[in-house]
Amino acid sequence: MGIYLEMFITFFKIGCLAFGGGYAVIAILQKEVVELKQWVTNDELTDIMAISQTLPGIIFVNSATMIGYRKKGLLGATVATITSCLPTFLLILLLTFVIWGFTDNPIVHKAFIGILLGVTALILNSVKKTWKTAVKHYSDVILALLSAALMLFTNINVVIVLLLLAALGFAKNIYFLKKEEKQHVNAH
């Protein structure tokens, strides 16, 4: 029982500290689960973060689940996942409840417009970062532009656009893979 309580406390703490996403969260995990608790090694954490980013879903949940699972199987994964999300769950409901009445105030309203444009800048920044890992070939540029055009300028459901683009990207990668194999065979 002791280990689960320890996991509960550690992941709750991580959930409370996980501001800013991405790199900030990696630093917190490094300190809490690698250095302090030694539940995973630094190499394992690097692997975990890399896989978390490729899987669908919430990156933070992916990494908490994987760490919990390595340490204590399915139950460990469940404890890690639920407790790491608990602070966010409680705080957003509480804060929304407290702040909501003020959001119609003109000054608060203007501050919110400013914050949302700040978030827009943060999103543009992650466009730049994603571009670096997503675009390896001119065909990727075409897929990215097609995706943007369909999502911004048409009313096609976003799920359908994503599935279509995923299928195109998959087919394209398989095509290049086969082509490469063929060249490899011819070279011999």
Binding site: F60, K110, G114, T130, N173
Partner: protein, 184 residues
Amino acid sequence: MSTLIDLFLVFLKIGAISFGGGYAMIPFFETEMVSHNWVSLADYVKVIAIAQVVPGPFAVDSSSYIGFKVAGIVGAIVATIALCIPSFVASVIITKFYTQFKANRYVNALLMGVRPAVLGLLLSAAYIIGLKPLYQTTHTFMSLTMLKAFIMAVAGYFVLNQKKVKIGTFTFIAATAVVGILLF
């Protein structure tokens, strides 16, 4: 009961298809809550603004709030758990079969193949958060407000990318609130 099942299925779906995580999930949330008439975009963006001072993944902020609006505290719990289930299942399976998975070319072709599409999701998210709420109140793109909003978002991007002064996310968000009050 049927509302809870609806919530569960919708958030399960979002959790399963949201490649790229983070901001790339915004278009999915927006599409579903508008089509189900659960929450207005004007209210949702307020929650995104508040979420900037809340730790943890903002997808959980979104599911908690939308779930709560639709079916109270039970709705919040159902939506959040449903959203996390696909990530949870995928992560457990991956941990078990990581070596086979890493070597599989088809899996890699899919995971790499979907990445360019994430760029479209992100640009769409930037529009939904930055310009669409303003468009819904002014009904035009040709206004001073829109121009100011556009300039502020682009200027913010350059501030984030300059190398001279290191700015934390908190400081940045606080500064944008002040600029917002002065500018709009």
